[in-house]
Symmetry: D2
Subunit: 327 residues, 4 copies
Amino acid sequence: MKIGLIGLGRMGGNIARRLMQAGHEIVAYDRSADAVATLARDGAIAANSLDDVRGKLDSPAIWWVMLPAGAPTEDTIAAIGEGARDGDIVIDGGNTFYKDDIRRAKLLAGKGVHYVDVGTSGGVWGLERGYCMMIGGDTGTVNLLDPIFDALAPGLGSIPRTPGRVADVVDERAEKGYIHAGPAGAGHFVKMVHNGIEYGLMQAYAEGFDILKSKNSDKLPEDERFDLNMTDIAEVWRRGSVISSWLLDLTAIALAKDGKLEGFSGSVADSGEGQWTIDAAMEEKVPANVLTASLFARYRSRVEHTFGDQVLSAMRFGFGGHVEIPQ
Amino acid sequence: MKIGLIGLGRMGGNIARRLMQAGHEIVAYDRSADAVATLARDGAIAANSLDDVRGKLDSPAIWWVMLPAGAPTEDTIAAIGEGARDGDIVIDGGNTFYKDDIRRAKLLAGKGVHYVDVGTSGGVWGLERGYCMMIGGDTGTVNLLDPIFDALAPGLGSIPRTPGRVADVVDERAEKGYIHAGPAGAGHFVKMVHNGIEYGLMQAYAEGFDILKSKNSDKLPEDERFDLNMTDIAEVWRRGSVISSWLLDLTAIALAKDGKLEGFSGSVADSGEGQWTIDAAMEEKVPANVLTASLFARYRSRVEHTFGDQVLSAMRFGFGGHVEIPQ
Amino acid sequence: MKIGLIGLGRMGGNIARRLMQAGHEIVAYDRSADAVATLARDGAIAANSLDDVRGKLDSPAIWWVMLPAGAPTEDTIAAIGEGARDGDIVIDGGNTFYKDDIRRAKLLAGKGVHYVDVGTSGGVWGLERGYCMMIGGDTGTVNLLDPIFDALAPGLGSIPRTPGRVADVVDERAEKGYIHAGPAGAGHFVKMVHNGIEYGLMQAYAEGFDILKSKNSDKLPEDERFDLNMTDIAEVWRRGSVISSWLLDLTAIALAKDGKLEGFSGSVADSGEGQWTIDAAMEEKVPANVLTASLFARYRSRVEHTFGDQVLSAMRFGFGGHVEIPQ
Amino acid sequence: MKIGLIGLGRMGGNIARRLMQAGHEIVAYDRSADAVATLARDGAIAANSLDDVRGKLDSPAIWWVMLPAGAPTEDTIAAIGEGARDGDIVIDGGNTFYKDDIRRAKLLAGKGVHYVDVGTSGGVWGLERGYCMMIGGDTGTVNLLDPIFDALAPGLGSIPRTPGRVADVVDERAEKGYIHAGPAGAGHFVKMVHNGIEYGLMQAYAEGFDILKSKNSDKLPEDERFDLNMTDIAEVWRRGSVISSWLLDLTAIALAKDGKLEGFSGSVADSGEGQWTIDAAMEEKVPANVLTASLFARYRSRVEHTFGDQVLSAMRFGFGGHVEIPQ
């Protein structure tokens, strides 16, 4: 198929390459002419504006927007929508808030334009491993786009099939690494929860390694200390343990380079999805202590002291004359 | 009554004074001769050793030990126990772990010595307000000591009586500010949970003020900011609001001095009781998310970054090539 | 002053009464004619429609809307705004989300109408104790309304003044129990955080009493149990302890009636404010583990089992063949 | 090597089988004569008492104790220690608290007996996949036992090697699935933290699936609902996503059988390790909000209502006259 790919960053560029490797045609556009030129050398059709892309696409036109969530995606999809014709398809492959998808899909449906949201996991490893995709949109359109998703997905690969699944297949695409989750917004909703879970998993490992590392600390009495090796522990857990995972693999790689992780200060960013997941939990009245604590640990990692900490110190001084302890 | 008071720090000294004001006699001992001399000027009988105290007490001897929990208390009580006679009474008024009380009470009972544990709340304000006391020990001994507890307690004072309580009194001492909670250990157990709750209350206020203060922050877009006044907010909540409390009073005092609390860095200590409360919760299989989060917030306040934070950063770099954000 | 009071429920009715006691005139309206009649017997001017209220108010008209947040308040204020004249004042005394205040204030400002939001704490006790109020709006209007707020507030009363505050007064109204927190929305924002804190305080006590109560449980080995008396413990903490508070007073009242609280099943509701407080924390990137855990504990209290619990059981069965334990 | 294997339950029996498959000899004993007979049919040397085992072992004797933690393990190791000779080796392969290991190792060292603790992960899948082992003990003994551990471990298998590890090997055994973590106790300490992490990972998935499932709930307004398929979502995440893991594989298996997990009520047990991990965190002053919340979620899953919930309801009734909501 012929796809207009808007946004040739790390993710967009690799998606374009994986699609071309599978025989699809890419009309490529990015604000950066360099990024366009680079991808053109890999076989893409270069474009220098959204209009230029449109002129080079078939009818119905298929657009894949791969831009930062928020204004860049919003404005681009609005501009595409302006000039779109009945039957055109706009795919948002970024990290959009699912309620924005629902709103946009309604808006575009008024002009006969189909909106598809694709939550994509796999990061920079996707070109090699394939992308896990969670897709929202109307069934006809999602089915029409199947060759695109099939090309991007990891496929069955070497991962063992789930026992019990083979006989009674629900959505066979799931085994290839993509699903049609529901109407517009459902793709990004599932991806959002995926990222919420990711925060929780990461924090569980983080706390565990912190407890291990601190057991070596000279703040403990000498006879209570061990001398545990973080690198070997991460490695051994990859082998047959209940907590083996891809995130643990990444941890093992980092610890193999430096068991003290001295290159990392520990100031940890969060994207919108962690927060939106908690919003969803609260809308649904679902207790989500672990996912929330994971998000808050990241907030906390980015400040030296909170005003809350100062309030605590002030109270302690008030009732007991306690002075603060030196760190 | 005549009481040997061991440990004349901030708490011990004030307890001695309040007892003397009520007509009790104090035989005072502390490692610091200065502390003894100071209290002697206020009317205490000075002693220069535990043996000296013993010689100056009646029979049965009544000891009130008011020392830091752990070795100082443990060793002192052991030494008192060595020379104790049948019928003597040892009161531990410090912050001892309640299982240590149970152990000691059994040990001393073997020699006919009565052990009483008194959990005391009120801090440096106790001399003026009186001390809230939670007492563990055998009923006969606790009743015998009633004049001491009655003198230390705040009494009915100006605090309105609890409706419904007047008619059907359970333990009338509760209204005067002390209770016999149960056998040895029960006093410190109740005091331990009291402190666990205190951590939770403090952290609730701390988080609330943090959310208020951060609403003024220039990290927010200008049209989302307020310019809230912490000092006035603390004050207004003291007046008729559902969250008025003594801890809020202390917060209001601190914020009246400096609404930015710049004198406090926010490095917050914790004593053993918060931790023991969580231990008890786990032994009883009681979920205690708030009390635990309060304790952990204090741990977190005392380090710049955790190894866990670094592990998160390392994983994020691994799967997405994300570099850390500057603070 | 003459005030149109819309909504004569528990809160609205008592506010009207307290205003009339201070000499203000109330034009009263409620969907329920009975509620209007009841208040008319207490001295209010009865009205049978919004238009009727308008006809009976002076110019500029002062409206106090005291309705459930959401549609009832929204629709009523829209209807008042329709017929409002330049200089009129609309007060929302309910539990409105502060972003709705900001939106409404802008809208009404277009017609010269002043919007004031009043967050009110004090519950059913307010008639007697007075209401603690956090007020948002333009300064001129808030000052104009001062006689109203002054009448509703608890005043200095018997609560001791905050040391250090007397000399260097910031907003003298704070000591009387109300503050002008900032522009429209600021009042409800501060009230929202107040309720967030309230959840945290309540949960801290709840967990503490749970740990105390469970120490009596026959699930513990007999020699690890106490026989603690919840009623007396709540009472004694009211007297001189660091954790005395109005919420503890309420707990003591409940436990004086029934130490087992058997009349309460433990299914706990939450209003919007707890959730909005967490939203605000996330917008500001403030870690708020305690306030969030408090909210989630309420969600959890209202379901028998979560799907998450079932997922845990399914995993445990998967890796270890563990079957579920009977409760 | 010849090993006396005490305890032929699910774990012990499979360990014996995997050892025999690798050519080791097993002298098998269990309280259940049936269990002994079953294993004897698979090639083990049957024994009918500890003394019988001892008589059938070489010198130095090697014992592998695979019993429930606590009294069964404690008593058995004491009994083995009674009759042990200089140079004998006792391996505790169960889930012992690491401080018990340290105590026992000291005790046995007095008689020249070597104590080795082996934390084992892999559950019922270990016979097939091999066991991931974390080992504590003195270096000479652990090295001597290497053929045993090598036989039980999964080995390199099909799991890709960690990049960066190959060139600069730390402990080459880690890649085969076992490590010598440190002196006695270190093995079980690392295994304990492993299980703590496991709780956190499980709870992260559990909360995520709860948020997904609840998005289908008819408690939400109809236009906010999706109709998400749990089975397919678990499956698709196994393929190329960042959160793929063995625990997710297990979840996918369970959901392939029944997407509603109706066979599971959601009453979730916890073993000692989760609790001990929090104890360790507190001893080290490490904030561990996620691991703790995971543990508490299990406690909560096993009771219908907490006394804490009732306290909340009682307070709400007190300040607002709120009655409880029906579930």
